[in-house]
Symmetry: C2
Subunit: 202 residues, 2 copies
DNA sequence: CAGAACACTAAACGTTTGTTCAGCTCGTGT
DNA sequence: ACACGAGCTGAACAAACGTTTAGTGTTCTG
C-alpha cells in the first residue's frame, strides 16, 4: 500500500493529471489544478514534463504500459480492462473519445489480439463462424469498452458506484449471457437487416 | 435542402456549437470559435443564449428533441440513433461522457424503452429469457451506443469515414449476428464467470 | 570544500477565456 | 415623423490560461 507522499513528485504529478484528465477532460483540466492536486507549483509541472501536451503524452504512455503489462498472457482482453485501476480506466475512456494517438494504437492492438483470439476459438470450435471476422472483432471490443466509457450512465441505472465491482459484474454477466445464448430467439432482425441492405445496395 | 445562410442566426449559432462541442469537447470549445463558425460576433452568442453554459443546455434540449421526435413509434432504439444526423451523434457521445443532465436523462429513457421493448419481445417469443432484465437492457443500450462513442476508432479500423453509412452498417451487421446466433458456441465462459462469482461471493 | 546538477518555487509574461457595455442599424407600430 | 424594441457589433473587461524567467535551496560529485 503506497501513500501519496512516498511517491516522487514526478509520479504524483502524473497520477494527479491522470485523475483530472479522466474526470474533467484534457481541455477542461488546467496545469494549475494538476499542480495543486499533486501539492506542487505549476512551474514544477513544466519542469518535469515540458508542456501540458507532453504531460498528456506521459499519461498515455503510462496507461499503455499499465494495460499492456497488466495481464500475463493476455488471452482475454475483458479481464485486463476490468482489472485496471479506476483512474486509468476513466482516462482511457477520455483518451479514446479525444482520439489520442496512443489510445488509437491501444484500441487497434486490442482489436488485433481479440481477432486472433476469436480466430483461435473458431478453430477450436467454441466460437461461431462469422461472415466478417474483422468487423466482429471491432464490434466485440467496442462492446467490451462500452460500459467503461459509459460507466457513469450504466452505474447510475444499475445502482451504486459505476466503478464498483458489483455493478460492473452485473452488466458483464448480462453481456455474457447475450454472447453465449444470443439475445434474439429467431432471425427476424437479421433478415430484416439483410433486406434493408439489399434494398439500399441492389 | 437548407443552406447555412437561410437559417436564423440563433439556429446557426446552435448548429455551430453542436458541431464544435461534438468534435472538440465542451471545455475545448470557445465561444469565439462558435461565433466564427456561425459567422457572427461573440457578443451575439451571449445575446441569444446568455452564457456558454446556457448555450450547452440549448444544445442538450435540441438533441433531446431531435432524437425523441426522430422515430415515429420508437419501437427500436437502434434505428433512431443511427439515423440521427452526424453532428448530433457526436455531440450526444460527448454529452454522455461529460455526464450532462440531459444526456443522463436520455440514456435512462432509452434504457427504459428498450427494457419494455425486450420484455414485449420476451412475451411474444422472439427474445430469450434473462436472469436480470434491467442489466440486460442497460448493457444492450451501451452496446448500441458504443460504436457511436468510439466512432473514430471503429471507423479507422473498419476503413473509411467513421460516420460513413457503409462502415456503420458493417459493424451493425456483425453485432446483429452476435445477438441472434450468439458469439460463443458453448457455455464455457458463462460457467467460468459464474464460478468466479461464487468464489468471490460465497 | 568548491561546484555542477537537480528539485523546486514566486512572480511575472503574453494570450485567451467568458462576459459586459455602449452604440449601431434596421423594420414595425403609432 | 417618431420612437421603440430586436438583431447585432467592436471594444473593452477581469479572470484564468499555458508558459517563461530568475532564483532558491539541496544533494550528489570530484
Amino acid at each position: 500500500m503506497r501513500s501519496a507522499s512516498d511517491l516522487t513528485a514526478r509520479a504524483r504529478i502524473r497520477d494527479a493529471a491522470l485523475a483530472r484528465f479522466g474526470t474533467d477532460g484534457i481541455a477542461g483540466t488546467s496545469v494549475r489544478a494538476v499542480a495543486a492536486d499533486a501539492g506542487v507549483s505549476p512551474a514544477l509541472v513544466m519542469h518535469h514534463f515540458g508542456s501540458k501536451d507532453e504531460l498528456r503524452q506521459a499519461c498515455d504512455d503510462y496507461v499503455l504500459d499499465s494495460i499492456r503489462n497488466g495481464g500475463e498472457a493476455a488471452t482475454e482482453a475483458l479481464g485486463e480492462i476490468l482489472r485496471a485501476a479506476t483512474p486509468v480506466r476513466r482516462y482511457l475512456a477520455r483518451a479514446l473519445l479525444d482520439d489520442t494517438p496512443a489510445a488509437g494504437a491501444l484500441f487497434a492492438e486490442i482489436v488485433e489480439r481479440t481477432e486472433a483470439w476469436l480466430a483461435a476459438g473458431e478453430d477450436e470450435g467454441w466460437v461461431r463462424a462469422s461472415a466478417d471476422a474483422k468487423a466482429r472483432a471491432v464490434t466485440y471490443v467496442s462492446w467490451l469498452l462500452a460500459p467503461l466509457v459509459l460507466g457513469n450512465q450504466v452505474g447510475r441505472l444499475l445502482g451504486g458506484d459505476p466503478a464498483e465491482t458489483a455493478t460492473a459484474v452485473r452488466g458483464a454477466r448480462a453481456g455474457l449471457e447475450m454472447l453465449t445464448h444470443g439475445l434474439f430467439a429467431d432471425d427476424r432482425w437479421l433478415t430484416a437487416f439483410t433486406d434493408i441492405e439489399k434494398r439500399t445496395r441492389p
